[in-house]
């Protein structure tokens, strides 16, 4: 590792009205290393990066880049000093080409006014080949897979001369193969002398990729360790401050009667092409069927049809033997179908409602919560108090609006509501997205408890490890079809990864990503 520090942050503090996000944080990133910053949500890792990138002025502390004090706390100051940020949500113009996107806002000029398109293409081509990015400068963004879009973002940052690249949760939207390729790219960037700062909550990745790791907890640095010789358990302990069960212990399933039966299900998407094609799936009582797949391959549509939120094109969906494919969401719910939606803020919660009001959402029309059109507020309240206690929701106040809860507690609220009342079928979509390690543990155990109590569970997750630890059977979706089905435990991550990309070559340029908003990646 080369000598010297690329980044030295000293005594950074940042107080927001309700929270001390950074409390006297020191961060040293050596020149030419890959440095990971890990921590739970709210640990302050994003804040410290925003301070570095100039999005947030710190209340106290100093920043030095290669020994020179950084003055000015605006992104332009940071960019001028050689810092670049690859955001978690890509900021690309779909209808422009790769080269046009890269130079956007900083175009090479010809005769002072015209964009020098040829020069732009040449720059992109040379950056791309230098680091093995395999990007075609003339391809339209809308034709690229998520993994390739991310590379465009990386080239954008390199084009602006970044020597320190900050990547914020870069792997959340990628397939295992894409992750591996990204890591190759990051290593080659490092070997070419660039410095990488990598924010994540996935511990395997940290250990695989990083040279050194800064662990944050509650706005402070909990420790700085070399990746070599550190274990996941140690990292998790530092992040949470206690020992965490990283592996879920589960008994073998004892499946009963089929609860959900899907036969020959097809559905058309917005552009007319089928987003679901001839799906056949069965979930029995007391088992977890996991659906693996890159987001946007029909999972969202499948879930919406099963829960009554979308009309089926052809085929049948039965819940406990009753045809549901063209019933309303309320009728489906009343059959005992619970649903943890993939996007909790868009679907699962009414943020302006109180915790108590949110905890009856979807059950509010039935006794005991309403009778003859009137809400039974006492019942609503005692229901809330019970679930708050059982699930350790914080704050433990039924009258607080859901928008004031942390992301983890919002998810717990939904889980508490949907798991309660013994549903026959539980559709859990990305149930631990954006949730702290401690809460993940809780959600996983609750899911298995539900299973053992006889519920049929359809689990959809972008986290392969989650699918693999919880599922009794695994189905893989690709391009609107079920392309493979496995017994849980009988399949490895690599095999799943290959199936997820349609069994095709590792770089799935143009993986179908159209379809009902599944591309939102709110990690």
């Amino acid at each position: 590792m080369p000598e010297g520090h690329a980044v030295q942050m000293r005594g950074i503090s940042k107080r927001y009205p309700r929270v001390l996000a950074n409390d006297n944080v020191d961060l040293d990133v050596a020149d030419g290393e890959i440095h990971a910053i890990v921590g739970e949500n709210g640990a302050g890792k994003s804040t410290i990066m925003k301070v570095l990138y100039g999005l947030t002025p710190p209340d106290a502390g100093s920043i030095a880049l290669w020994g020179r004090e950084l003055r000015g706390h605006r992104p332009s100051d940071a960019i001028d000093a050689g810092v670049g940020m690859v955001h978690q949500h890509f900021m690309l113009v779909d209808t422009l080409t790769v080269a046009e996107n890269v130079v956007l806002g900083d175009e090479p000029r010809r005769a002072g006014v015209f964009t020098d398109v040829a020069a732009a293409r040449e720059r992109v081509r040379s950056l791309s080949s230098e680091y093995g990015l395999a990007l075609d400068p003339d391809e339209l963004i809308e034709n690229l897979s998520v993994g390739l879009e991310q590379r465009v973002e990386i080239v954008k940052v390199l084009y602006r001369g970044a020597k320190v690249l900050i990547l914020d949760e870069p792997t959340g939207v990628l397939t295992p193969q894409e992750v591996r390729e990204l890591f190759e790219i990051l290593r080659s960037l490092r070997d070419a002398g660039r410095t990488i700062i990598f924010i994540t909550h996935k511990l395997e990745e940290v250990l695989e990729l990083a040279d050194r790791i800064t662990v944050m907890r509650d706005g402070r640095v909990a420790g700085v360790v070399p990746a070599q010789g550190t274990t996941k358990e140690e990292l998790a302990h530092m992040m949470v401050g206690r020992d965490v069960l990283l592996r879920v212990e589960k008994e073998d399933a004892s499946p009963g009667e089929p609860v959900l039966e899907i036969r020959g299900l097809s559905a058309a998407g917005r552009k007319g092409a089928n987003v679901l094609e001839d799906i056949e799936l069965t979930v029995r009582a007391g088992e977890v069927l996991g659906i693996a797949g890159v987001q946007g391959n029909g999972q969202t549509e499948l879930v919406e049809i099963v829960t009554g939120l979308r009309r089926a094109g052809a085929g049948t969906v039965r819940v406990c033997g009753i045809e549901t494919s063209n019933r309303s969401p309320r009728q489906v719910r009343d059959l005992g179908v619970a649903h943890v939606p993939e996007d909790r803020q868009a679907r699962g919660l009414v943020l302006g409602f109180t915790i108590a009001e949110n905890l009856v959402l979807g059950k509010h029309h039935r006794p005991p919560f309403s009778n003859h059109g009137l809400m039974a507020l006492d019942e609503v309240r005692s229901h809330a108090e019970r679930l708050i206690g059982e699930h350790d929701l914080r704050p433990a106040d039924p009258d607080v609006d859901a928008e004031h809860l942390s992301g983890g507690n919002q998810q717990k609220l939904i889980v508490a509501r949907e798991f309660d009342g013994g549903p026959a079928l539980l559709v859990a979509s990305q149930p631990t997205r954006g949730v702290d390690i401690g809460a993940i543990e809780f959600v996983h155990q609750s899911l298995l408890r539900m299973r053992d109590a006889g519920a049929a569970i359809l689990l959809i997750s972008a986290e392969l490890s989650e699918i693999m630890t919880l599922s009794d059977r695994i189905a893989v979706m690709y391009d609107g079809r079920v392309v493979a089905e496995y017994e849980g435990g009988a399949v490895g991550e690599d095999e799943l990864g290959v199936a997820m990309t349609g069994g095709a070559a590792p770089v799935p340029a143009g993986v179908a990503r159209d379809g009902g908003g599944a591309e939102e990646g709110a990690l």
Binding site: S46, T56, R347
Partner: protein
């Protein structure tokens, strides 16, 4: 935190009103008048006598109804700009019923006319509601268009078919006496409140208070209200929860229109006792301002309507006794609204910033927007 939010819910309109008076004062000074004298006249005009207070209340009553109409629809996420048309329809249907069923005794006719008023408004609001639910057509456009249709249509009928015989004024005959709402001057003076017999304050104020309570009760105590609020805040989540968004939209519009239609209880049953072409002069639109100032809550609407009643009543006094044009009051009202809206926005942004910062996640939108610049 939440308490702070609620407190500022209450405080920000008050601050806005105070600031508006300050701005109004500057305007008065600029045209060479003494603001203290003008405001003195304004408040004497509104509070100087029992008669004045009676007028304040009388002027506030229709604004309570139209304010509730706007606020109620807003809770379902709908902008009902059609209060004006709905109140015309309410008044028209009320008058027709009052003319047609004149033989009924008051105990039957009064409730019938109240229902007719509400039904007229509800019917008129149902149209844009259905168009929104069925075809997704934006209700703002359709409610505005329905205003023109309402004013034009009622005007046509009144001028050409229902005009009082032997009259040039475009108005109908008087409805039956048994359909009148009694004025409050009589009963009030009997208990020692010297409200002059000429004061138009009538029993409609009780209906207005009832409507405020009813709006609150529907929103916070009924299943429909829960669903209306859910749809208004997050329609996708409402759909997820099995709420029929379409049906809820129609229901909310119908109820909203019913509130607007009840203006007829004051204007027709309690005051004119007939339909006069073009009688409203913007009560429906004023309701938008009232709802805004009242933060779309029933109680807030009541208070905001009272404030507007004060301003409107005091404006007359200013007009009569000073050289300051009564338009100053319009300026004052408009400035108040602007300041409330600005205040809301400022507060919402600060709250949003606080939300973001209290949970610093990787996907903080501030990073995105700033980068996009």
């Amino acid at each position: 935190m939440t308490r702070l939010a609620r407190l500022s819910q209450v405080l920000s309109p008050l601050v806005a009103v105070a600031a508006a008076f300050l701005v109004g004062g500057l305007v008065v000074t600029a045209i060479g008048e003494n603001p203290f004298r003008i405001y003195g006249i304004l408040f004497r005009g509104a509070f100087g006598s029992v008669d004045a207070i009676g007028f304040v209340l009388f002027n506030a009553v229709p604004l309570v109804f139209t304010g509730l109409a706007v606020a109620f629809a807003f809770r379902a996420g709908l902008f009902n700009i059609g209060g004006e048309g709905q109140l015309y329809l309410g008044a028209f249907v009320c008058t027709l019923a009052g003319l047609a069923f004149g033989g009924l005794p008051a105990v039957l006719l009064v409730p019938l006319l109240v229902i007719a008023s509400a039904a007229g408004g509800a019917l008129w609001a149902a149209v844009p509601g259905l168009l929104k639910a069925r075809f997704g057509v934006h209700e703002v456009i359709n409610t505005i268009m329905m205003n023109f249709i309402a004013v034009g249509l009622t005007g046509y009928f009144v001028v050409n078919m229902l005009r009082e015989p032997g009259q040039m004024t475009p108005q109908t005959s008087e409805i039956a006496l048994s359909g009148h709402l009694p004025r409050l001057a009589g009963p009030l003076s009997r208990i020692g409140v010297p409200l002059p017999q000429s004061n138009p304050l009538n029993l409609s104020i009780v209906i207005a208070l009832g409507a405020v309570w009813l709006a609150w009760y529907i929103l916070y105590r009924t299943r429909l209200g829960y669903e209306i609020r859910a749809v208004g805040i997050n329609a996708k989540a409402a759909e997820y929860a099995g709420i029929s968004v379409r049906r809820t939209i129609v229901a909310a519009m119908v109820l909203s229109g019913a509130f607007a239609g009840l203006v007829a209880t004051n204007e027709v049953m309690g005051f004119r006792h007939r339909f006069l072409d073009n009688f409203s002069s913007g009560l429906g639109f004023m309701g938008i301002a009232v709802a805004l100032l009242g933060k779309n809550t029933p109680l807030g609407v009541l208070l905001a309507a009272l404030l507007f009643g004060v301003l409107n009543t005091g404006a007359l006094e200013i007009d009569v006794f000073t050289d300051v044009p009564r338009e100053l009051i319009l300026v004052l009202q408009a400035v108040t609204i602007i300041l409330v809206v600005v205040g809301n926005e400022v507060f919402a942004r600060r709250a949003a910033a606080r939300e973001r910062s209290s949970e610093p996640r990787g996907d903080a939108p501030s990073a995105a927007t700033q980068e996009a610049k």
